[in-house]
């Protein structure tokens, strides 16, 4: 096995493992922000309890996210020195800004957010939550800016094989940033909302802490209701952008081999794309579907994968399927939210067992959709590390493959261990349930707060 393949595998593994954690924390931070705002506005103790409970889940994710994230920053140098040398002028300051803003806001205010309840006034604590939430989203902004630049490079000139910046504004706000960033942020918000909803649904079915979990669920569904349909629209815009800037990627993820001449391009529903034979096995299609999606006309021209030289084609088998899984989950979420809207109108949102069960079932799908989306966009960029300009094969460090075999096997071992422990402790924390009894710290007690039994009472149904 060569060092290029191994380095890519290691980067895929470490990023794939890492992204699961920020995906949740970016969204959960916003959820917590809303909860704390409600606590400050309504003075209803249940929001304080909700915050203290969900922030425990947040803290576990945050810790794993931070330590796995450091790995990625170092891998640019250890494994992709070729890329780092060539693109540092553009990419590196974006990563530095990510470090500074993440630093600026997240890590510094996290201490107050987690441990500061009894030490700082309510307003300062709320500010800390806002800063952590802002930091998480800002961090996504810089990482997406760097990644989008690799997809649709702008604001540079190539001098002796090095990318020199001509305009940071165009490099950062490159053509794919607006849609890709929105797509990723919405994915995080949706994943977090459905995670909270699924967990709450599980405990509601068990009949534990009914009022607490109903409030948690209602708030999560409220968040998801806005996001799920919006994500479909943004997803469509992302597709159009890819068609315009990365036609080979689009052709691969749609398993579209031949440019349509005389008639519309069909949308492939099911197929097993074959890179060797340059065709699809077992395909099921919708006539004119792809033309309609991409060009918004029945007979619009969509470039096929065969227009590109074989060595310039991304893998269609992988991208075709990861894309379909991702998009399928997106539509499923819209379906679940339509169902929720229907139940809400009939005032049966918390009574329907089937609905609660389906919330539990779809709970992990946000993570899967995010991973599939990333595989689609990154595998779809191949064989380029900087689209159309620098090949992935030229991006790796001059190190022996043995180095990467060593580190890759340790990553597999350690991530397996950490992943297992993570699941164990998250389930344990959830199993212990919310703390509804320990006193609210005096500095946090606003006048007229609703207290004790009334707030935590399980019989009360609102």
């Amino acid at each position: 096995m060569d060092v290029v393949f191994l380095s890519r595998l290691q980067f895929a593994l470490t990023t794939g493992f890492h992204i699961l954690f920020p995906t949740l924390t970016i969204g959960l931070a916003v959820y917590l922000l809303i909860v704390e705002l409600l606590w400050l506005r309504t003075k209803d103790e249940i929001y304080y309890r909700m915050y203290r409970f969900w922030v425990k889940i947040f803290a576990i994710h945050f810790a794993v996210g931070v330590v796995t994230g450091i790995t990625l920053e170092f891998e640019f140098g250890t494994n992709f020195a070729g890329f780092s040398q060539a693109a540092a002028n553009v990419i590196a300051p974006l990563l530095a800004y990510e470090g500074m803003t993440a630093f600026f806001l997240e890590a510094g205010f996290l201490g107050i957010m987690l441990f500061g309840w009894s030490r700082v006034p309510a307003a300062v604590h709320f500010l800390a939550t806002c800063m952590v939430a802002l930091g998480a989203s800002l961090s996504a902004f810089w990482i997406m800016a760097a990644n989008c630049w690799m997809q649709t490079p702008a604001g540079y000139e190539l001098v002796d094989g090095k990318f020199m910046v001509t305009s940071f504004r165009s490099a950062i706000f490159n053509p794919s940033l607006p849609t890709h960033l929105t797509h990723m942020l919405l994915a995080s918000y949706a994943t977090a909302a459905f995670a909270v909803a699924g967990i709450s649904a599980y405990f509601l079915l068990k009949g534990a802490n009914v009022r607490f979990y109903r409030r948690s669920l209602a708030l999560a569904l409220f968040m998801a209701a806005g996001i799920a349909p919006l994500q479909v629209v943004v997803g469509d815009l992302t597709g159009l952008l890819i068609a315009e800037h990365q036609p080979a990627k689009l052709a691969a993820m749609e398993a579209h081999w031949n440019t349509n001449t005389g008639g519309g391009a069909p949308f492939v529903l099911f197929a097993v794309p074959d890179m060797e034979e340059e065709r699809n096995h077992l395909q099921v299609t919708i006539p004119n579907g792809l033309s309609l999606l991409i060009t918004h006309s029945l007979e619009g021209k969509v470039t096929g994968l065969k227009e590109f030289a074989p060595e310039d084609r991304p893998d269609s088998l992988i991208t075709f399927w990861t894309f379909r899984v991702m998009a399928g989950i997106g539509f499923l979420y819209v379906g679940v939210m339509s169902w929720a809207a229907l139940l809400w109108k009939r005032k049966r949102l918390f009574e329907s067992g089937a609905f609660l069960k389906s919330l539990i079932a779809v709970q992990p799908l946000g993570f899967i959709a995010t991973l599939c989306g990333w595989v689609t966009t990154e595998v779809g960029r191949q064989p380029w590390v900087v689209y159309g300009l620098m090949r992935t094969a030229d991006s790796v460090s001059p190190i022996p493959a043995g180095n990467v075999v060593w580190s890759l096997s340790l990553f597999v071992l350690f991530f397996g261990l950490i992943g297992t422990s993570y699941f164990y402790y998250v389930l344990k924390t959830l199993g212990r349930g919310p703390d509804l009894t320990s006193p609210v710290p005096p500095v946090q007690r606003p006048g007229g707060m609703r207290f004790g039994k009334e707030a935590a009472g399980e019989s009360e149904v609102k």
Binding site: A63, G69, G77, A92, I399
Partner: protein, 331 residues
């Protein structure tokens, strides 16, 4: 001072901030096995719980800043030091997750071990990285041209052990501030012994370094460096004696301050040994620097962010000031 040198100073500042701040966090972890029972271990953990994450993030900042300002150092040296650097990362990963998982677990034994060993591996690998970096990197046509174990030599191993002693010194003097009673008594003894070890290592490194690389004393004793180079060992010597005296007098804050000054004096001596090279022994500051526009763009961020970060770091330390008590559960 031009843009390149501003960045050189900034990166230098961020690295020493990381070394001191995460140094005492790692140092407290290295003292973990000396705690007698679970309650003492909880106290040690609580002494760093609210600040360790922010401390650790300085390495993220440092990595990003180095990548942006001296991309050649970042890519060449990181390829060369692949094994010690990733070992360092593995150690940090275990230290970090152990921190979080320990708090959530009822049987803490396994995570106690992970916390200690993760920290120990991280510290030793940090020393290997530093020693390997100082030992020099083979560069041809702007890329790394050596083998995977070029960093491994007696000098880098010694730096590894020296750093363990150094971080124990930082950790134990930090505990003087944050704890009382039996833990503090022990910390006084630990601080005393580790300070002696550190002094020994510093003498050893000072003898070893010129033998290891004869060009270093040549740089030390060339003007204009020769005019101020002597202040660094003087500063170190003063800090060491102050440290010993303040430990004897059972001062609480002063020993930590002296430890930090001792670290800074050693660090300045090292910088004076390397400059003007950023990848010893061949690549200089200017050859390794990024494009001017990049340096300028990243500088704006640093100018705005750094003072704010420092201000709220101080605020955060102030919020969590005072001794940690067993009653104060952070989870």
């Amino acid at each position: 001072m031009d843009l390149v040198h501003i960045w050189l100073s900034l990166v230098g500042l961020v690295i020493i901030l990381y070394v001191v701040l995460d140094g005492f966090s790692l140092g407290v972890a290295l003292l973990f096995p000396t705690a007698r029972d679970e309650q003492e271990r909880d106290l040690l953990i609580n002494s760093i719980a609210p600040v360790w994450d922010a401390n650790q993030t300085w390495i993220v900042f440092g990595g990003g800043a180095l990548f942006a300002s001296f991309p050649m150092v970042y890519s060449v040296v990181f390829s060369a030091l692949y094994i010690p650097l990733l070992t360092f990362i593995f150690g940090l990963i275990f230290r970090g997750v152990a921190f979080e998982f320990r708090a959530n677990s009822s049987s803490k034994h396994g995570w106690n071990k992970a916390f200690f060993w993760g920290s120990l591996v991280a510290v030793f690998a940090q020393g290997l990285t530093l020693g390997g970096y100082l030992s020099g990197t083979k560069v041809a046509d702007g890329v790394f041209a050596g083998g995977p174990f070029d960093w491994l030599n007696p000098f880098s191993l010694m730096v590894g052990f020296a750093l363990i002693a150094g971080y124990i010194m930082l950790g134990s003097t930090y505990l003087l501030i944050k704890t009382g009673g039996a833990i503090q008594d022990r910390a006084y003894r630990q601080a005393f012994r580790s300070a002696l070890a550190v002094a020994g290592f510093m003498v050893l490194v000072s003898i070893f370094t010129p033998l290891h690389d004869p060009s270093i004393p040549a740089r030390w004793f060339s003007p204009p460096r020769v005019y101020f180079i002597w202040t660094f060992p003087m500063l170190g010597l003063a800090a060491f004696f102050m440290l010993m005296k303040s430990i004897r007098q059972r001062a609480e804050l002063l020993p930590f301050v002296c430890s930090v000054v001792l670290f800074i004096s050693a660090y300045l001596g090292l910088l004076a040994a390397i400059y003007p090279y950023t990848i010893p022994p061949t690549v200089t500051v200017y050859e390794a620097a990024a494009q001017r526009e990049t340096l300028l763009f990243a500088l704006w961020g640093a100018i705005i962010v750094l003072p704010v970060v420092l201000a709220y770091t101080v605020y955060s330390y102030w919020v969590f000031r005072g001794k940690v008590t067993p009653e104060e559960g952070y989870h």
